[in-house]
């Protein structure tokens, strides 16, 4: 940091602004383990009863939290793998191969990338119903992956564009097939992008709400975000501390992934902008 640049006023201002958020977070965590006396907002009694959803049989009409978590995990990871693997190959083609209508695809990519996809939801709903995939996890996975693809392809194309073409030509001269060249020489160069995209689309799938809500409202395909919303919409017996606990449970994997992989995630912003 620049020596002339005093950092403490900035830190002070930032702290002040984020203080309310921070307090909320602390309360959220504390609340899940405590009960206030009646009429007070201050937590006083330690309890783990708000976490009972983890081990108790679900109430009738509700799914088990573990089944829902499993659904969320399957949804997020399948989407991530699909988006990453398709982006890897499609972006390579767009970056390197000279095929008909390449410009059209590129332009389409940018348009789709910026498109407010939610406006398509009715059309998607109809299509899924037609295909018999409505109210299934498979259907939501397909839709989510498709909507994430323009972003993934665009990011990966940015990474491919930074790989010097001489490396590929050298590989071809060394006798390797185009596929071997891609697999052994080019992929390792874009590996940071691959990792970032994988994590990014996993997180994006993990936090997806609208698509499962609209396209798979049934209990079998419920994911954590819809489970959470069902919880708060339950007028019969609102339990805010239970809601907070489930919320925290839902957020923990995201926080862990960010902490572990933050360096890799930064690559998305580094690699995509070059060349």
């Amino acid at each position: 940091m620049n020596a002339n640049f005093k950092s403490w006023p900035v830190i002070a201002i930032l702290s002040l602004v984020s203080l309310p958020l921070l307090i909320m977070f602390v309360f959220q965590i504390v609340d899940t383990f405590t009960n206030p006396y009646p009429g007070s907002i201050w937590p006083q009694m330690f309890t783990i009863e708000h976490w009972r959803f983890l081990w108790e049989e679900p109430a009738t009409g509700r799914s088990s939290i573990w089944a829902v978590t499993w659904n969320t995990f399957v949804f997020a990871s399948t989407t991530a793998v699909a988006v990453t693997s398709i982006s890897l190959t499609a972006a390579y083609a767009l970056s390197r191969l000279n095929f008909p209508a390449r410009r059209f695809f590129l332009a389409g990519l940018i348009v789709l990338h910026a498109f407010p996809t939610i406006t398509l939801i009715i059309a998607i709903f109809l299509i899924l119903q037609f295909l018999g995939l409505y109210n299934s996890l498979m259907g939501v996975i397909l839709v989510k992956a498709a909507l994430e693809l323009p972003f993934g392809i665009w990011i990966m194309k940015g990474f491919y564009d930074t790989v010097p073409w001489e490396i590929e030509m050298a590989g071809v001269q060394d006798g390797a097939s185009r596929f071997t060249v891609w697999w052994k020489l080019v992929l390792p160069q874009v590996q940071p992008g691959l990792a970032a995209l994988l994590i990014f689309s996993f997180l994006s799938g993990w936090s997806e709400f609208v698509l499962p809500l609209v396209l798979a409202p049934g209990n079998d395909a419920q994911v954590l975000s819809t489970y959470l919303s069902a919880l708060i919409l339950d007028d019969a017996k609102p339990d805010f501390n239970l809601f907070k606990s489930v919320g925290l449970f839902y957020a923990i994997p995201v926080i862990v992934i960010y902490l572990v992989f933050q360096k890799k995630l930064m690559n998305i912003y580094g690699g995509g902008s070059k060349g």
Binding site: M169, Q173, D174
Partner: protein, 349 residues
């Protein structure tokens, strides 16, 4: 192995970049493709290795017609200007890559890599990554990788362009040594005449997609076919004077230059004279008067520009001596046996 390019034509869309080019490189020979930027050197090179497809003509390696073969089946080693090493592999794996592709067994690969590393003097670098090497060392690795599977032809595209002056000098002789030791047929693309002259057996000088002259370096220097060739070779460059043939002499303004015996019968009227800087100076007597308009000391030698009364400029390079100053008048001579004569439109007489 002999390389034969016949009637080679290359078009990009509708633009003909190379038209009916013929080039034969003899087995074990090192040929320079020399020429100004954009003349088609790289295009020719990339066609030989199969990156570009030909729009006409044939290419033979020895008796084998490779015109329509893909790169992978041509057995050509290429060294790219930026070396194109594989950044994620260490040097050993870089060099071994062409052998791995051929699915040789590990013992053979290890043996061949060790041999070639020995040849290019990098055995101690094998465990490093490309980013940990200097430019000269990367160059050696690139050479090793190109040579390790014993290609029929070695192609070098401006291999020295990215090196600093001292390394360039070193790698010039190194590349030549390696080429001679392996006896490989090689083509060197460069726009640096010194590189071409010092490293190669023959030079093909290109201009606008055509070979203007193809000969040995000293012959090209002393016996250029036109003013373009004469002007391209030599540093400092040759100077040109407009002259009139007047009986036994070339008349240049008020000065006269004796016509060499070999030329006397062939010239008349207006000619263009080419005088190389080493053939103009006080050691050749007197006869040309002018004023010094530029001085450059190069340590061992001094370079002078002399402006003649009619405004044309002659260059002279001579052993460093009593320093002349800008504006000094001189009266120097020309070694008239070495004056090159051209027609006004540039063809050699």
């Amino acid at each position: 192995m002999q390389l034969r390019l016949e009637n080679f034509t290359k078009k990009f869309d509708n633009l003909t970049v190379i038209d009916q080019l013929n080039l034969t490189v003899e087995s074990g020979e090192m040929m320079a493709l020399l020429g100004p930027s954009g003349c088609g050197k790289s295009t020719t090179l990339f066609t030989i290795c199969g990156i570009h497809r030909m729009n006409g003509g044939t290419l033979h390696f020895g008796d084998r017609d490779v015109s329509n073969l893909p790169s992978q089946q041509r057995n050509v080693g290429v060294v790219f200007q930026n070396y194109a090493l594989y950044p994620h592999m260490n040097i050993r794996d870089n060099i071994a890559f062409p052998l791995r592709v051929q699915k040789l067994d590990n013992a053979t690969i290890a043996k061949k890599v060790a041999e070639i590393a020995e040849l290019v003097h990098i055995p101690e670098l094998l465990d490093r990554k490309p980013a940990q090497l200097s430019g000269g060392q990367q160059q050696r690795v690139a050479l090793a990788r190109a040579l390790v599977r014993k290609p029929d032809v070695l192609l070098l595209d401006e291999p020295l362009a990215n090196l600093d002056a001292k390394l360039r000098l070193e790698m010039r002789s190194e590349i030549r040594r390696i080429q001679l030791e392996t006896g490989i047929t090689a083509i060197l693309v460069t726009h640096d005449q010194v590189e071409a002259m010092s490293m190669c057996d023959r030079i093909a000088l290109m201009k606008g997609g055509k070979i203007v002259q193809l000969s040995e370096p000293d012959q090209m220097y002393n016996d250029p076919v036109d003013t373009f060739v004469a002007g391209f070779l030599g540093n400092p460059p040759i100077s040109f004077l407009d002259a009139q043939v007047n009986a036994d002499v070339f008349q240049v303004g008020p000065s006269q230059i004796t016509i060499a015996d070999s030329l006397r019968a062939k010239v008349n009227g207006a000619v263009k004279l080419g005088i190389r800087p080493e053939y103009f100076g006080p050691q050749f007597g007197t006869g040309i008067t002018g004023k010094i308009s530029f001085v450059e000391t190069q340590g061992r030698e001094d370079l002078y520009n002399v402006t003649l009364p009619d405004g044309s400029v002659l260059r002279s390079i001579q052993a460093a001596g009593p320093r002349l100053k800008l504006g000094d008048s001189v009266n120097w001579g020309i070694s008239h046996d070495h004056a090159l004569a051209f027609t006004p439109d540039g063809a050699r007489i």
